[in-house]
């Protein structure tokens, strides 16, 4: 089961659309699943687990944005706000109406999907730059509403503390418990997204991205599918927001500003537009980058400067590195980390032959 294929040998559409193109893929996925479910959470300490949780949450959000931007070709600068919609919906339902966690999770996703589709309505008339700016407006309008409508935010600093999530009477209050919870949701999200693009709906999204007029001519209702893409993507965003809220224990709009939206766009651009694997790579990369940079800068800078000086420089260095990487990838490798990964695997696939 570890043999590789040595070329494109598919003879039917079924083979081309298969979830596991070769037997090795099945064993790889199984191997990764076993590692992330068993040895890693058992062996890792709380800090490592909390970082893993952040990465997993980011993966879900990046997947959602990639469905909209990477696969359907609609730019969204409002995903941070869509996440906050999910976060506040879940927080309100959990604290005021004492709904169980899993219901709040689903409700957060559905609410975000509704709001996301609403801000997707302009895509009926506008696209490209104009749509980007319209979703930017969505970001600011939602942010303002959360911050200033007291019914939503509950007053003090627009924050709502949420109880620990509980499933069937079992309260999850450790990082390890959260890890499993988030991992299961994220795995479902990944599998759902992979399967989405094997269906009629997913194919329609890709057709709209590739050429909207051609897509309409072959009978795709563009508006409906664009809205559907906004809804699915925002659903992912909403669930991401709920998970993040439960991870932090507090719903706060400051976690979901325009910076968040830009971060997620950066994830899918650096990871690779229109790719599930790319979303995962990009999310991990952008989440881990500031953490690693902090170690490096504090390690080196701490030798020469005081702690406070280093801390001041650090945020600026993060900004510069972040912006620089986005531009670097856009210019040098527009297909992102996913392409780099594929170059590597392609090399080994035919090794020791050049092609």
């Amino acid at each position: 089961m570890i043999n590789r294929e040595c070329g494109v040998l598919k003879t039917s559409y079924e083979a081309d659309m298969a979830l596991y193109p070769i037997p090795l893929a099945r064993s790889t996925v199984l191997g990764i699943a076993i590692i992330v479910f068993l040895p890693f959470p058992v062996l890792a300490n709380d800090y490592l687990l909390s970082v893993a949780n952040l990465v997993n949450i980011a993966i879900l959000g990046a997947l959602g944005l990639n469905i909209l931007t990477g696969y359907t070709g609609q730019v969204s600068l409002g995903h941070g706000a869509f996440m906050s919609v999910g976060a506040y919906t879940a927080a309100i339902l959990a604290t005021r109406y004492h709904l169980p966690f899993w219901l709040a999770l689903a409700a957060g996703g559905v609410m975000a999907a509704a709001v996301g589709s609403f801000f997707g309505i302009p895509s009926l008339r506008i696209k490209g730059l104009y749509l980007a700016i319209a979703t930017l407006a969505g970001q600011f309008i939602i942010e303002w509403s959360l911050n200033h409508i007291t019914w939503i935010s509950g007053g003090i600093q627009s924050s709502i503390y949420v109880p620990r999530p509980a499933l069937g009477g079992y309260v999850i209050n450790t990082q390890r418990g959260m890890y499993y919870l988030i991992l299961i949701v994220v795995s479902l999200g990944i599998v759902a997204a992979m399967n989405l693009f094997r269906t009629r709906v997913g194919r329609a999204f890709v057709a709209i991205r590739d050429h909207d007029v051609a897509a309409e001519i072959i009978g795709i209702n563009i508006f409906r599918y664009k809205l559907l893409s906004f809804a699915i993507s925002s659903f992912y965003a909403g669930v991401t927001g709920v998970l993040y809220t439960y991870y932090l224990g507090i719903a706060n709009y400051e976690q979901f500003t325009i910076v968040t939206s830009v971060n997620f766009l950066a994830m899918i651009i650096i990871g690779g537009l229109g790719s599930i694997l790319g979303s995962i790579f990009g999310a991990a990369f952008i989440t881990l980058l500031p953490i690693l940079l902090r170690y490096v800068v504090e390690g080196i800078g701490g030798l020469f400067f005081t702690i406070s000086d280093v801390a001041g420089v650090l945020t600026n260095l993060q900004l510069i590195l972040f912006g620089g990487l986005i531009i670097f990838f856009l210019i040098v490798e527009p297909d992102g980390l996913k392409k780099l990964w594929r170059n590597i695997t392609d090399y080994f696939r035919v090794w020791p032959f050049p092609y």
């Binding site: 302009p122 407006a137 600011f140 303002w144 912006g323």
Partner: protein, 294 residues
């Protein structure tokens, strides 16, 4: 009624300042079709440079302003050459993300090079407000309005009359045809960025004087989008009119709504206005109408 008028006048004055920032955006979009999400950050860098030249080095005003303009032109050239030129012909999202990346870099570099604390830009303009038939108007705002109008006239006639301006419009209209007519498209792209650099320098000087220079100065860039969408992305007149409308509307709305919701209306109303405009008239008041299937 006096309250309303005062709000309106204040808003229009601030609007003239928005127009100044938006002008830089429009100049770039008009000539190169590139969307610049880093306009506010360019203004911030302009503010930093002039504040350092005036404050830390104590240069006379004329030298400091000239130095800022030159520095911003150099910066704009660099940005165009290193970031935008490799992206010519790439999808919209690539350019948007590249300028967002640029914004992030500038936001990091500014405080790193010029130190993070808030700096003043002392201008020889009196602080004491003037009373014009019962309305308070501060002198710096009059200067800003005057500069906006001068730029409007300058760029307006430049694009209509001068050979270079006409060439720039040709480039904006169709790059391919412009090339065929012997116009060097690259040169005019660089020129457009240089002009945006000049406008950003002036914007940085005036906004820096009003708000003080630190990272938060870049937030003025967020007002650019409502202004240019309202006025039309490629219209210089639109930038000025859009700026005045956005300034007026947000000031009046904030005056009446803020007491009930506890502030923040100014950040929110322009975007609401913009959404409405996008639904009704996406190309704005004076923008070039592009009929296209969506």
């Amino acid at each position: 009624m006096d309250f309303f008028l005062q709000l309106l006048v204040n808003g229009l004055m601030v609007g003239a300042l928005y127009a100044l920032v938006a002008l830089g955006f429009v100049l770039i979009y008009k000539a190169t079709d590139a969307i610049n999400f880093a306009q506010g950050e360019l203004v911030m860098i302009g503010g930093f440079i002039v504040a350092v030249l005036l404050g830390s080095y104590g240069f006379p005003l004329v030298v400091a302003v000239a130095g800022t303009i030159v520095a911003m032109i150099v910066l704009a050239f660099g940005v165009e050459r290193m970031i935008l030129r490799p992206l010519i012909g790439r999808p919209v999202i690539a350019v948007i993300m590249a300028t967002i990346g640029l914004a992030s870099i500038l936001k990091g570099i500014g405080p790193l090079l010029f130190r993070a604390e808030t700096k003043n830009v002392p201008l020889p303009i009196p602080d004491a407000p003037l009373f014009v038939s019962g309305l308070l108007i501060s002198p710096i705002q009059i200067v800003a309005v005057a500069i906006s109008l001068i730029f409007l006239a300058l760029f307006g006639s430049f694009f209509l009359r001068s050979r270079i301006g006409i060439a720039m419009r040709a480039v904006a209209d169709s790059q391919q045809v412009a090339m065929a007519m012997g116009i060097s498209v690259e040169r005019y792209f660089a020129l457009a960025w240089a002009m945006a650099g000049i406008v950003s320098a002036i914007g940085g000087i005036i906004w820096g004087n009003l708000l003080g220079v630190d990272v938060h100065l870049s937030l003025v860039g967020l007002k650019v989008f409502p202004v240019v969408i309202l006025g039309g992305l490629d219209s210089i007149l639109g930038a000025v009119v859009g700026g005045l409308i956005v300034g007026g509307v947000e000031s009046v709305a904030a005056g009446y709504i803020d007491p009930y919701v506890g502030g923040g209306t100014k950040d929110f109303i322009p975007y609401l206005l913009m959404i409405v405009i996008l639904m009704i008239r996406p190309y704005g008041l004076f923008g070039k109408e592009i009929i296209e299937r969506v």
